[in-house]
């Protein structure tokens, strides 16, 4: 009987531990592939794109793994002629903010005026540019070069 009870208790701990920690583990793995606070630009998505599951073949991505432990991060946004968005993801993978305005965004761990407060020190900023033809692709590549993710020194 004591083995049955200990098995069930252990199963419950493992189950809830895995369910709660899985998003953090997966996000950490993705964030560790690139230096923090540097924008990384993807090539057009195809079957060789295996960095993140379920990539959209009609989107061009730019991704920044942010780390606010040393200060705020300024996200520079670029204009684009068709659909685009920039999504902000916390360390647990929640999409806590989406912006479609062409203006810089100050990302901070602190609550302060004019800044977007992140729920966690680390997370991901992901730009999506819709690419449906060759003209879109050229323009998206130009937009990719303009979007940035810069660490600001803590005052």
């Amino acid at each position: 009987m004591k083995y049955i009870i200990s098995t069930l208790v252990l199963a419950a701990i493992m189950h809830f531990g895995a369910v709660y920690s899985l998003p953090y583990v997966i996000m950490t793995r993705v964030m560790s592939r690139a230096p923090a606070n540097v924008m990384q630009h993807s090539l057009p998505t195809d079957a060789a794109s295996r960095a993140i599951v379920k990539p959209a073949p009609d989107l061009l991505y730019s991704l920044c793994s942010y780390d606010l432990s040393k200060g705020d991060v300024k996200v520079t946004v670029a204009p684009y002629h068709t659909y685009w968005s920039v999504g902000f993801y916390a360390a647990n993978s929640d999409n806590f903010h989406i912006s479609k305005e062409v203006k810089p965004i100050l990302l901070s761990i602190d609550k302060k005026q004019g800044a977007l407060q992140s729920p966690s020190n680390k997370g991901i900023v992901l730009f999506r540019f819709l690419v449906q033809n060759a003209d879109d692709l050229e323009k998206a590549k130009i937009a990719q070069k303009e979007v940035k993710c810069d660490e600001l020194a803590r005052l």
Binding site: A47, I52, P57
Partner: protein, 181 residues
């Protein structure tokens, strides 16, 4: 010796129960809209329960929340049978209410299926109404290739949907034709 064996068996049994619990609970967190398509309004959002968050992290990391996009997943056809790479399907439906939409085919590993012609998805840039084939070999008209083996899934993305009440959406039908033996 007996105690060690019982302890090892206990840990292994706990692993099996813990994993089985995950696969039992995840489907309960998603709404099955018909026999083919499932969805959750909490995908990507801060109100997601731990099962939705874990499942989305595993199978669709960095999804946008519903204020921007709605995602529908099909692992089954419209008769409720698992999508198979050996079968031919016709996907048919009306215009979808969104700024742009796409239906992408992914293998069991949730990555795009290799295709010499880079046929991965159908979108509103290609057709107004949904009407295309899925098949192991080339078809006339718009088509997407299946993986060489195993199953696959479809992901319907509605970006900036003009209709967010999913009960009012008419999602495409996925109708199976023949299957290779």
């Amino acid at each position: 010796m007996k105690t060690v064996l019982y302890s090892v068996a206990s840990v292994l049994a706990a692993c099996v129960v813990a994993i089985a619990g995950y696969f039992l609970m995840v489907p309960k967190s998603f709404l099955q809209l018909d026999k083919a398509w499932s969805y959750s309004q909490y995908t990507g959002g801060e109100n997601a329960n731990p099962y939705i968050r874990a499942h989305v992290a595993r199978t669709g990391l960095l999804a946008l929340n519903q204020s921007e996009a709605i995602y529908f997943v099909a692992n089954f056809d419209s008769d409720g049978e698992k999508l198979s790479s050996k079968c031919v399907y016709k996907v048919v439906g009306g215009e979808l209410p969104a700024k742009w939409w796409s239906i992408t085919l992914y293998g069991d590993d949730n990555f795009l299926v290799p295709s010499p012609q880079k046929l991965y998805a159908v979108s509103n840039a290609m057709q107004k109404d949904v009407n295309f084939s899925i098949a192991p070999t080339e078809k006339t008209g718009l088509w997407l290739p299946t993986p060489s083996k195993g199953g696959f899934n479809l992901l319907l993305r509605l970006y900036q949907p003009s209709e967010k009440d999913v009960s009012k959406l008419k999602l495409p039908k996925i109708m199976k034709g023949g299957c290779a033996s």
